[in-house]
Each structure stands twice: as C-alpha cells, then as structure tokens.
Symmetry: C2
Subunit: 409 residues, 2 copies
C-alpha cells in the first residue's frame, strides 16, 4: 500500500477510449490498496487547437490571456477522467491548478511552482477518493491563472508528489522507459532500468525528450523517486530515476543523447580582452535567443575566436546580430553552419573513470567523423559534427561503449 502520483500526458488521454483506459489502470492500483493522485495534460491536439484560435485573433496575444485560454485544456481532461473513474465505481474528484492552490510566480506561460496547498487533496485521499489534478497550470498571488509551459504537467506531478511525500511519481508516456539512445537511430538501443537524476537531466536537455527538465530537477531536489512508464503497455517496470546509490558501481555510460536542431556561429579575430564574451552574448540573450554550447579557444596575436551554438530556427536572427557586433568589435569575420548536430555521451561513471573521452574520440575517428567542437561537463561529453554523421556517430558510440549488452556497466 503506497501513495502514488501518476501523470498521463496528452497522447495518453487523447480520446475518450484512452481516458477510459487510464481510469481502468488507476482502478487497478486502487484495488491493489494504493492511494492514487492523477495529474493529467490536455487531450492531444487540444492545446494546439486553442493556440490556433488565439493566433487567428492576434499575432502576439497577451501572455495572461493565453494562460486563461490554454488552461481550459487540462480542465476538460480532469472532468472527463473523474467521470470515467466514477463510471467504474471509483470515487474521484477533480481539481484545477487554482483549486489546489498550485501557487506560482507571475511569469505567464513559463511560471514556476512556489507552493502547493495539499490539505484538500489529503482529505480526499483519506476519504478513499482518487484525486485528479490539472497539470501544467497554477495560480499566482493575485489569483491569475498561470501555466508552467509545455510539458509542465510533469512538473506538476513531481511537485504534487513532493508536497504529499508520495512513495513514487509515475510518468506515463508513449515510450516504455528511458533508452540508452533513440531506438529510431540505433535499433539496438536498450531500455535502462535505472538512471540517476543527473544523467536524466543531461539526457533530457540534450534531446531525449521523455521528461521535462524542470520536473527532473524538482524530483532530484526533493528526492522524489520518478518512474517513466508506458501508458499503452501494461506490466512494464519502465525506468526508475533516483539518486545515485552509494556503494553501487555506477554504469560508466548511461546513454547517448543527440540534438538535430543545432546551428553554430563563429566570430573570428575579436580582441581578446575581459568582457568580450559578454559583449558578444549579451545582445544575443537580449534577443531571447538561447545559447547552448559556448567554446572559446586561447588567443593568438591578441585576438581570439568565439563559437557558440543556437537552435537552428534562430540561426538567421543570431547571424544578423553577430554581424552587427562584428562591425562594432572590428572582428575579422563571422562564419556559421546550420547543418550540424550535437552528440553527447552521458554517465555519472565518467567522474571516476578516465579515458572515456579518448575512447569516444577514437570511435568517431575510426568512422572518419570529423569533430568540429567539443564541450565537456562532469558527467557528459558533447561533440558537434556534420549532420550527415548523426546516425553513424550515435551507432558507433553505442557499439564502442557496449550499451546494447546487459553487461554495459
């Protein structure tokens, strides 16, 4: 008998039939003696339908009103799921984000959860009810409706689990767990039974979009055991995301993440003086362009080369800004390439195992793949390569680190 928070995404509640399937699964947990709190997203397609409506009215609708609009999506789902639960004899009660006081800051469309008043939820659980909470949404101190941004339902679930001290937070999705890499690229990709929060963070932020990054951060911070499961297959154990366990020899490599949406920009021959990085990246940040990798090499003749990557969709915008900066700084030239990808090796085991990087570079070199940029952190190594090498690169690394075998530690 445990207290479990379950989260079902838009695809899992995408039709009446799927909502009924979710209700049936929740009931099995209840029949098994577990207390269940369910967090749901909007039915798939619904949020896009609402955004399109707004788009017909305004090219730049107010963020406050967008949140009022799109938060209706989850509200529909919580009501329908409660009806489906009640229909099969499972007492249930729905709550919007505002009703359970998921207090957030006022940053509409990307608000952060600050507090949850779980008194009502606890009372319902005690009374034997399943509680169904609208994901993705909250309310600020003025009583205005806020949303956490796309994928925010994961964060709602984790925050709910943390507030309630739940035994486990289960994220039901359309995949049955976290894989060593994308099975569409490497068919030998293997489902991981466990992964640490840190590894998951790197995997998620690098493009393995199973979970929203913030939900993993949150789960790590409050040590909420997080499990990714398939909402379409029953009986699977999914992947458990937990703290690194002491005494257990961690796998060297958890998996290989990649990101196809990268573009790189280089400004050559800028004066190498303090503050140059800010002079270059300040205007880019002010234009709301997110910068991913940043590499600066040592200076030559008092000048240096500065390279960074951005999302491919912002390449043209970033290039225009950089051209302006280049003139100001009297740089030699600005060059760029939007036909690149990033491949990253992730694993907490890197901390204690030397030679991972050289093994990675060797594997790529054997396939004739030229590495254009390298960036490392404590538990990951990322390289930028020509986009044509993505599949070959991922597969050669998967092979080199023996990730397909059960012996991959």
């Amino acid at each position: 008998m445990a207290l479990i928070v379950q989260k079902y995404g838009g695809t899992s509640v995408g039709s009446v039939e799927r909502i009924q399937n979710v209700a049936a699964r929740v009931k099995r947990y209840r029949d098994n003696g577990d207390d269940v709190v369910v967090v749901v997203s909007a039915m798939s397609g619904e949020t896009n339908r609402l955004i399109a409506l707004a788009g017909e009215i305004s090219a730049a609708p107010s963020a406050r009103e967008m949140d009022v609009l799109v938060s209706t999506g989850e509200q529909v789902t919580i009501a329908l799921l409660c009806m489906a639960l009640q229909e099969i004899g499972c007492e249930a009660r729905s709550y919007t984000g505002a009703q359970v006081h998921i207090l957030t800051d006022s940053a509409h469309s990307k608000a952060r959860i600050m507090d949850i008043d779980h008194a009502r939820v606890c009372a319902d659980i005690k009374a034997g009810r399943v509680v169904v909470v609208a994901g993705f949404q909250g309310v600020d101190e003025h009583g205005d409706i806020t949303t956490l941004g796309r994928g925010g339902s994961d964060t709602t679930a984790v925050a709910m689990a943390a507030a309630l001290g739940a035994d486990e937070c289960q994220i039901f999705t359309d995949v049955d767990g976290v894989y060593t890499t994308d099975p569409r690229v490497e068919p030998k990709a293997r489902k991981l039974d466990r992964i640490t929060f840190e590894e998951m963070l790197e995997m998620a932020s690098l493009g393995s979009k199973v979970l929203q990054i913030r939900s993993v951060e949150f789960a790590g911070k409050y040590n909420v055991p997080l499990r990714v499961l398939s909402s379409f297959e029953d009986g699977g154990e999914g992947t458990l995301i937990t703290l690194e366990e002491d005494g257990v020899e961690a796998a060297k490599i958890a998996g290989i993440a990649f990101n196809r949406d990268e573009a790189k920009l280089t400004i050559r021959g800028v004066p190498d003086h303090p503050g140059i990085a800010y002079q270059i990246l300040g205007p880019v940040g002010e234009a709301n362009i997110e910068v991913d990798m940043i590499v600066q090499n040592i200076a030559n003749d008092g000048t240096t080369d500065f390279t960074f990557t951005v999302n491919r969709s912002e390449y043209a915008k970033a290039m225009a800004i950089l051209d302006g900066i280049s003139t100001e700084l009297a740089a030699r030239e600005v060059v760029g390439d939007d036909k690149i990808v990033k491949i990253s090796l992730v694993g907490v085991g890197m901390r204690s195992h030397a030679g991972i990087a050289s093994k990675m570079f060797a594997a790529l070199s054997e396939e004739g793949i030229n590495i254009q940029m390298i960036s490392t952190s404590e538990i990951k190594i990322s390289v930028v390569v020509d986009e044509k090498y993505l599949e070959l690169g991922v597969r050669s690394l998967h092979e080199a680190f023996d990730l397909a075998g059960e012996s991959a530690d």
Copy 2:
C-alpha cells in the same frame, strides 16, 4: 458616460470573426466614454461538444464534474475576447466566475448566485480597463466550480450589473428586441420599445425565449434596467425592460406568448377530499416532472376531475405515474392529449382593464377555435387549444388587440 454591463450569448461569439465584431462594438462604447463590463457565454456549439464528450463516458455523469467540464467553454471565450480587445488597442482583463468570486450555492448545474466580490472589477474599471467575465459559472463556498444552468450568462450579467450599480445591463442576442409575439408565426409582430419586468417574466416563461427567466427576476428585484439588443445590427435601441412607471397609462397588452411543447393529462372521478391535489401531484413532482398549468373544476357527486399540463417530452412518464395513482385512488379514468398548445395574452394593463378575457375568448371563438383549458393570473390569460390552431389563434389575437399598430395601447 455610463457604466454598462453587456452580455453576449453563444451565437454572438460563435466564431473568431464574431468575437472581433463584439470587440469592435465594445470599443465604440469605450471611445464614447462609457465603462464597460462584458459577460460572455461559450462559443455556440462548444457546450454541446463538451456535453457530448461526457455522454461518451457516462450516461449520468457527476454534476460536479459536468460543471468543471462545461465551464471551460466560457473561459475560452473570455480569453479570446480580451485578446481581440487588446489587438484593437483596448485594455482588457478576463475573469472566470471563480476569480471574481461569483459565490453560488452548491446546486451543481443549476446554482444560484448569492454574492459577487466586485472589488477587483472596480479596480480594473478605475484603471480604464474593459473587464470580461465568464458568464454562466460561479464557485461555491468549498471552492468548487458551479454553473447556473443553460442561459445562466444572462443572470451573471444582471447580477454583475446589480453588484456594480451599473446604469444599464444590455443583453445582446440574435433578435433585435422583444416582440409582441413570435414574428415567424405572425409577420405583423411589432418590436416593443418597453416592457415591464413582470410582463417580460410572463413572456419568457411562456416560451418567448429571449431572456432567461431568472435574470429578469433578478433585474426586477434589484431594479437593474435591462435592454435586449441585436448583436448583429448596429444602432437599434432594442427593448428596454424596466419597472412599471407610475402615472403612465400602461399598454393593456404587451404581447402574445405561446408554447408548443405542452401535453395535458386528466384524471377523472377522483374523490373530492382535502389533500387530493397533493396525492396526485406529489408523485409527479418526485419524478422531477415539472407541472405547468393546473385546473380543477368543482366537484360533482363527491368526485372531481383534475387536469394539468407537462412538457410534451415527459408525457409518457407522467401518464405512467398517473395510471398508478388512478388505481390507488379508485379514479374513474385517466385521459391525456399531447397534441395541444398553450397561448397566453400578457399585459400589466389587464389589472385595470376589464373585458380583456371576454375579448380574447370572442376572438378565438370567431375562428372556431375550441378552448380546452383556461388559466389566469394577474397579468396573463392562458388557454390550451388543439395544436393545429396555434398559428391561427396567435394571429387572431394579435389582430383583435391591435398589437401591430403603434396605437396598441
């Protein structure tokens, strides 16, 4: 410069283009110096779509969850209307029923408004903003979402106008005012410039479905001047619904209402003793069947005949109940007819003018229309006739009381 509450129904906000038209009209009032609070319904079709979704899941969904579900309809509209207003340079802010604390009782799907906290709305008005409020919905003392039942947006608008002490509450609809009768039945039907609350109540409850009854009651109680206007034609004055003015000779007859959905049931030869009416109507009421007209004639040989009308859709159900009662009471027989209609003459002038009833009966008799039942109140006379006489009856009365002429007082 006035404070005006405007209400737009589902048809008036049924598409993005219509929402933009509403925004344009609101802006004209603002440009004219008026303060405007707008109450809106769900886009036409939306509530039915949501109800159908629930219907796929449950034949009898929980009323609490139904309210959570359908209240999303208005929430979508308030957000879209605010965006449309902002797009044309009109500052606006949306509120759900819960956000402006439209406090209701807990009777889900037919809740009654008990209080409105208008502090936030007043602050917005003061700051020069248009306030857009979701109609039809409120929140109970537990924080649960409630709805006022279909057409409840009118009530929200009137309650809002009363709470704010607005100068006028304008109900925009798909007709340009209240008519002496339904123009589809009598093409000579004339738009009324004014009608009293009481007359409007009788007209509305008798089938002229321009306004929700409760909203008229509410407006009468708090003396909120109510105006019905077309949302598709500009410049019309519509019909103003107000208190009866002293010293002004009221029109004898305001109009002719009718109801096609009637069926009558008669139980013959029941013992004429005290409590007999309750013995007959008690079980009917318990079955949630609403009874409209009730007629009981004087007794004969210690027994009496008892007739009442119900909505045609409940005829079979009511008949079955009456058959059971008939056996219990050893009544002579039960007869019924579901091919009848009710025609009613409405006017506060009746109070002070004799001879209205006889003039009505004469007009019907001249056309050979047999009157099956008669029921009167202070300001209306209703007759039940065979349904085939509906159009003829309405037109002959319209003619007899000269309702088409401007001299119809």
